[in-house]
């Protein structure tokens, strides 16, 4: 396997009022799609922040073969600046990197088109639906053509139809990007994880340690009606079992 684009090596994180997380070992390979599943409080968001370099570990090493601005991040909510139009929001990462305003806005308009919002560049976040706002957030994360894209339960608040459409679009964007970015997608939805990712890592409930690491079958992007395939159902069952096993310590009195 090629060198990882980001990795955690024996990372622990001390937390206030509860047992520390870790030690966590995790590799993210270049261009792969990885899903992290785990119960609430399993440290999924913390793992993502560690990979982003936004949080310093209490012990262990965070390896990031990435320059400043080469990481994209999509949060649970769209997290757009409410006072700025969509195109200004999407242009933000480029402008922070020092790109001239007009050029940044041109690139931002292209990124908005790529996520299907090409006709709404001047919309304020309050004028966008939940799905459209999330598309704008995705465009903002992709506008720098990042090598690593981190997504923290981005579609959890959306209805199932919008959600499926966004996953298809995410696959299409990933497949057409040159080079393909590595993606780490946090979710608590096993079916979503299996459909979206090439590899699913299950995190233990209390410590956040990876306790299962399963490859998903089949090609990406997914062919039509792939959710009806037995191989898909079996993988979902296997990961659901692993997740249940990972949650068992928490169930003890």
């Amino acid at each position: 396997m090629a060198d990882p684009i980001a990795a955690l090596r024996g990372v622990t994180v001390d937390l206030v009022g509860r047992a520390p997380l870790g030690p966590i070992d995790l590799n993210v390979a270049q261009g792969e799609i990885l899903a992290l599943v785990g119960a609430s409080g399993a440290g999924k968001s913390t793992t993502l922040r560690l990979l982003a370099g936004l949080q310093t570990p209490s012990a262990g090493d965070v390896i990031r073969a990435l320059g400043v601005g080469r990481t994209g991040f999509v949060f649970q909510s769209p997290t757009l600046m409410p006072w700025a139009e969509a195109v200004t929001n999407v242009a933000l990462p480029l402008e922070l990197a020092g790109m001239a305003r007009s050029q940044a806005r041109e690139r931002a308009a292209l990124a908005l088109s790529a996520v299907g919002l090409g006709d709404r560049p001047d919309a304020r976040p309050s004028q966008l639906s939940g799905g459209m706002a999330m598309r704008a957030a995705l465009a903002r994360a992709l506008v720098t053509a990042p090598d690593l894209l981190l997504l923290d339960e981005p579609f959890a608040a959306l209805d199932s139809v919008t959600r499926r459409r966004l996953i298809e679009d995410l696959h299409a964007l990933w497949a057409t990007a040159q080079p393909r970015p590595a993606m780490v997608f946090v979710t608590h939805d096993v079916e979503e994880a299996v459909y979206l990712a090439q590899r699913v890592v299950v995190l233990a409930a209390a410590t956040g340690r990876p306790v299962a690491d399963l490859a998903t079958p089949g090609p990406l992007p997914r062919p039509a009606r792939w959710r009806a395939e037995p191989a898909y159902r079996q993988t979902v069952e296997a990961i659901a079992d692993a997740l249940e096993a990972a949650m068992r310590p928490e169930a003890a009195p």
Partner: protein
């Protein structure tokens, strides 16, 4: 049509109260220096109109100066303090102490320091002291109110402190600053009036001085007219702040 049904109850009540007042004055035959009827107040308002208007302008001017002063000092201090938690811990108790100290008690001191020839400066300074806290507190809260995930995004892209301030924290602070300004506007008028009462020398010819003067001559109707002017002044200032806010917050 709907506006009419909405406006009818408050106007109706006001008319009813005024009519009751007028009737009570006439029926009980109250002396006019004790409680003049609304009609007498209206006459006094017309007679003393030019004087009251000129004085209202003076008070308005001093309140606006105080607001600008308090905004500059409060905003600047909030900005400096927002840079470090220790700075906020250091400054907050002082700001709260300034807020809870009655302005009437400090007024004589400030009058001495400003010099008796410059009572207007003392009035502006005292009104600014009263208006300072809501502006400082509002702007400071606003600067710290930015979405933590947006703060993380600025970390992720290596934003400079200036970029963070300009692109994230100041826009986040704006609604809080405007709310602080709205509260401060009302307080500035109160502070100006109180300070002028204490100075009490006629060195400043604001509305408070008109009230004192009319009171000394037992012109009760003119006093009530002055109070009405102060209410109107507060409402006008409030409306001006509201218009500024709506203009800045067109989202």
């Amino acid at each position: 049509m709907r506006r009419l049904t909405e406006l009818a109850p408050p106007i109706g009540l006001a008319v009813l109260l005024l009519a009751g007042w007028e009737a009570a004055c006439r029926l009980l035959d109250l002396p006019v220096y004790f409680l003049p009827p609304p009609s007498a107040v209206a006459v006094a308002l017309v007679e003393a109109g030019p004087r009251l208007a000129a004085s209202a302008l003076v008070t308005f001017g001093m309140a606006v100066q105080a607001l600008v002063l308090a905004g500059l000092v409060g905003g600047g201090l909030a900005l400096a303090v927002s840079l470090h938690p220790a700075a906020e811990r250091a400054v907050r108790p002082l700001a709260v102490a300034l807020q809870v100290t009655p302005v009437v008690a400090v007024a004589p001191l400030v009058l001495i320091w400003a010099g008796l020839d410059h009572a207007d400066r003392a009035v502006v300074a005292l009104a600014a002291v009263v208006a300072f806290f809501p502006l400082f507190s509002g702007i400071l809260t606003g600067l710290k109110s930015a979405d933590p995930d947006l703060e993380r995004l600025f970390d992720l892209y290596g934003a400079t402190p200036l970029q963070r301030l300009w692109r994230l924290r100041l826009p986040s602070a704006l609604p809080f600053a405007l709310e602080g300004l709205r509260v401060a506007a009302g307080l500035a008028v109160i502070g100006a009036v109180v300070a002028e009462f204490v100075s009490g020398s006629g060195a400043t010819q604001g509305l408070a001085w008109r009230l004192l003067e009319a009171g000394n001559r037992l012109r009760t109707a003119e006093m009530l007219g002055g109070v009405l002017c102060l209410t109107l002044l507060g409402l006008v200032l409030n409306a001006v702040v509201g218009v500024i806010g709506r203009f800045l917050l067109r989202r």
